[in-house]
Symmetry: C2
Subunit: 130 residues, 2 copies
């Protein structure tokens, strides 16, 4: 099938699919006219990528997951380890954002937010309390 159809089925833009091929994540065949020709297996792989990416795995992590996916004898523990490490990483990111959020919200709360020029947010950013 052509790239457009594969794109539809995998829920990925054609551009992204070509990019994935360029960086070696899959290698579809070619039709006589030079068009890429995707098998069901290729589409499967693309869907796998789509889902992993949307779950926040980086391309390199997807590469690892794909190799586990390809290895029919890999231990499920290996996959679980990758997933759990990702969970921990997301937790760290959430905590960091939470702290940013709190700082910003506090600053905004202390700003009277009217037409006057003085503003605790700007003062803080400028370090005028230091």
């Amino acid at each position: 099938m052509n790239i457009g159809t594969a794109a539809e089925q995998a829920n990925l833009p054609p551009k992204t699919i070509r990019y994935y091929e360029e960086i070696g994540l899959l290698s579809p065949g070619r039709a006589e006219n030079g068009y890429r020709d995707y098998s069901d297996k290729d589409v499967h792989r693309l869907r796998f990528l789509q889902r992993s990416r949307s779950l926040g795995f980086t391309i390199d992590e997807c590469r690892l997951l794909l190799s586990l996916y390809d290895d029919k004898n890999r231990a499920s523990a290996d996959v679980k380890a990758v997933a759990l490490e990702k969970v921990a990483e997301i937790d760290r990111k959430i905590a960091e954002l939470q702290s940013l959020r709190d700082t910003l919200a506090t600053l905004a709360k202390h700003c009277h937010g009217d037409g006057r020029p003085d503003c605790p947010i700007i003062d803080d950013l400028a370090g005028e309390h230091a």
Copy 2:
């Protein structure tokens, strides 16, 4: 003062400071030998940037904040609006990450995580439930 000293005082790497200059966030003078020459005001500006960036504002948002900072007559409401929009954006990001986290954690929980090859995580990524 030279870029190294300014870097130290603003807690930013020299490379980053040159980059900020390149994209027009500040324009220090030059000494006779061609070296950049930073005033206290420049350092102030750099600290402002350092703090805003660390609070998660993009460069373009920093540009806006700087223009508000430079405008001694701006209304504090304008600044507050930027800050609150940022808080909302961070909230959205946190919610998204939370949802990713939960999905991944659920997948990991259902994976027995032993030496056997079958693994619900991979199955889910491959879309084998669909």
